[in-house]
């Protein structure tokens, strides 16, 4: 890696080596190429008394490698420009060159905090293409492990949100929950984070004794533990007064920005894919869709904590109603679905995960498009952060809970 000194030469924006060779320009707020769009030209023109501040890609609270260029007036954020692509791994292209079973391992690290949901929607889309019916026990195991993963994801959210508001203790507490759950899932799936557990037509392995004993042990004290975690923040006046009224968004704007999941439900709209477009065994289960009307950061936080309790209810029902049946449908090793298109959406911890797959009759998907809620939610940070202080911008972003692996794919 050699660097070149001197003034920047205007390179083509399509040149992939721009960011690699020009290390000096990597952290400069102004890009080394001329503006490509009207919006870019408007943003990179400074008004009276304004200045640029570069944030990221290496920043402790950007939740990964997001880079944000802030335009500041004093300490107030006038405008901002997120720069994406620092974690672009080309997953969709890799999926087109992998056969249907291998796709599951490629999509795993997209949202690495809730990997099971990344597997779930492609697997469902492929099952629609192949027209297979999943055994009921496999569906119950999917819901059971998925809801556990949702709790782990929301528990981590609690710690990160508090960390970005300046509190260190909650993340230590939330990682206790998360570690217990992922160890439990590791007993079931064999991996702590990137589970690679769902298969087309079922799941990889049946419930085992190690998993069940860990789960029973944890369930007996989960409610109490989560309640005690919540006392750290819910009754903390500094936290509540800081998070209330921060980054308010109303339902119409949220819908026009394509928000889904907890971020949308925090504005009062009760949209949940599990109820609106039922899939798997969710119609048979009894659970509530919590909503809040405020639409601010505190509402988004409290809503996720409510969802943890609902997930515990779902897990309890799954354990009591678990049927006895095979865990895999009978399928050939080499899958060649008929030519066609399939779309499958599920409700993940961050919102609506969806996969749109096109088959051309071969053993590889012709095209796979992954709809990721993190990417969709990130487009509204410009709306939410405007006219906030610098210190609040990261708190607003943390309340949206984006994961950069899913944003950049």
């Amino acid at each position: 890696m050699t660097t070149t000194a001197g003034p920047h030469q205007h390179a083509s924006a399509d040149d992939p080596r721009v960011m690699l060779d020009d290390q000096i320009g990597a952290f400069e707020p102004i890009p080394p190429y001329p503006p490509r769009t009207e919006r870019e030209a408007e943003f990179y023109t400074l008004g009276d008394g304004e200045m640029f501040l570069n944030m990221g890609p290496q920043h402790p609270s950007t939740h990964g490698v997001l880079r944000v260029v802030l335009k500041l007036d004093g300490e107030k954020v006038v405008d901002l420009d997120p720069v994406l692509g620092y974690l672009h791994r080309g997953v969709e292209k890799l999926c087109e060159n992998a056969d249907y079973h291998q796709v599951i391992s490629q999509v795993d690290p997209l949202e690495y905090i809730s990997s099971l949901f990344c597997e779930w929607s492609p697997v469902m889309a492929f099952e629609k293409l192949l027209d297979v019916e999943v055994p009921r026990r496999a569906e119950y195991i999917r819901v059971l492990s998925g809801e556990l993963n949702r709790i782990a994801s929301h528990a981590l959210f609690m710690g990160w949100f508090a960390l970005d508001l300046g509190g260190l203790t909650p993340i230590l507490w939330s990682f206790i929950e998360r570690d217990e759950i992922v160890e439990m899932l590791a007993a079931l799936t064999g991996q702590r984070m990137l589970f690679n557990y769902f298969r087309i037509g079922g799941v990889n392995g049946d419930l085992n004794h190690d998993f069940m004993s860990r789960l029973g042990d944890w369930m007996s004290r989960a409610t109490g533990q989560i309640e005690s975690n919540l006392t750290l923040l819910n009754e903390n006046e500094i936290f509540v007064r800081r998070a209330r009224g921060l980054g308010v968004i109303d339902t119409e704007t949220a819908l026009s920005m394509c928000m889904s999941g907890p971020n949308l439900r925090a504005t009062g709209s009760p949209f949940d894919v599990r109820r609106a477009h039922p899939y798997s065994i969710y119609p048979e289960l009894d659970f509530d869709i919590p909503t809040r009307s405020e639409g601010d950061s505190l509402a988004r936080y409290l809503l996720r904590m409510e969802e943890i309790k609902q997930s515990l209810r779902i897990i309890d029902q799954c354990l009591h109603q678990m049927p006895d049946s095979p865990i895999m449908a009978k399928l050939p090793r080499l899958l060649r679905p008929r030519p066609g298109r399939a779309y499958a959406a599920i409700e993940g911890p961050r919102g609506q995960y969806a996969t749109y797959a096109i088959s051309d009759g071969t053993d590889q998907p012709f095209r796979m498009r992954i709809h990721d809620p993190s990417f969709i939610h990130l487009q509204s940070v410009g709306l939410l952060m405007k006219n906030n202080l610098i210190a609040d911008t990261m708190a607003v972003m943390a309340s949206l809970d984006p994961v950069m692996g899913g944003v950049d794919k």
């Binding site: 890696m1 690699l20 490698v65 672009h88 791994r89 990682f175 570690d179 692996g405």
Partner: protein
């Protein structure tokens, strides 16, 4: 004060030569390393002219100047310059101190970062072995744990982070993606192993490795730091495949 509206401007090498004239630092020619970063104050002027050093520009001594000069030319992080008088035995003691207070840089790239945080929090507490305080600034860190897939777009910033860290410094490649490319080896946008862009001391395979795996790797690094006894071979950048393989 120039009329240039850029907030950060890189001055030429000639200017830095004048700034450090008369000191022990000799800056050989113009290069990207030696040119200091001069942050010009175009936005704000003090109300009182005599305040802040009477408005004079202070000489900027960048760490890269020191690294490029003869004073700390050797990459072995031993006492150097005027401190050469201290006996070489001091290096052994210093290495013992360094090994037991490794300060990693808080820079997570992807999935492995979550396991890195898990290794630092309650259940597996890395602090017990003296490797905890994750620093947010590369100036304060001496271990770079590259946790996650390195893409071509992130390679430049990461190498810059590595260059900003002061010697002595070590690099730990955490996860399959950073060791060899892992499951994204065939992708068009990733770098197949970070040893193509920076030297690596410890490789930790796994996708991602368990927190215990990271702690084991860091203990191996501690052993490495202790065992070198003041000696440090040049570390190569690039695929280190032995000839004939």
């Amino acid at each position: 004060m120039s009329d240039n509206d850029g907030a950060i401007e890189r001055s030429t090498g000639a200017g830095s030569g004048e700034g450090s004239a008369g000191t022990a630092l000799i800056v050989p020619g113009e290069s990207a390393l030696t040119a200091p970063i001069v942050v010009r104050n175009d936005l704000w002027t003090s109300a009182e002219g005599a305040a802040y050093d009477s408005g004079r520009e202070s000489g900027v001594a960048h760490l890269a100047e020191l690294a490029a000069s003869d004073v700390s030319r050797r990459d072995d992080a031993r006492w150097s310059g005027m401190l050469e008088v201290i006996p070489a035995r001091a290096d052994v003691v210093l290495d013992l101190l360094r090994a037991n207070s490794l300060w990693p840089l808080l820079s997570g790239l992807a999935c492995c970062a979550i396991e890195m945080m898990s290794a630092a929090t309650s259940k597996n507490d890395m602090d017990r072995w003296g490797m905890f305080p994750f620093r947010a600034s590369p100036r304060q860190a001496d271990v770079l744990i590259v946790a996650g897939t390195l893409t071509t777009k992130m390679a430049g910033p990461l190498v810059r982070l590595w260059e900003q860290m002061p010697e002595p410094k070590w690099c730990v490649a955490m996860g399959d993606c950073t060791c060899s490319g892992g499951r994204y080896k065939r992708s068009y946008s990733t770098i197949e192993g970070i040893d193509r862009v920076m030297p690596v001391d410890v490789y930790i395979p796994g996708c991602p490795p368990r927190p215990e795996g990271l702690i084991y790797g860091m203990m191996k690094l501690q052993q490495l730091v202790k065992d070198r006894r003041g000696q440090w071979a040049d570390r190569a950048i690039g695929p280190t495949v032995p000839p004939g393989v």
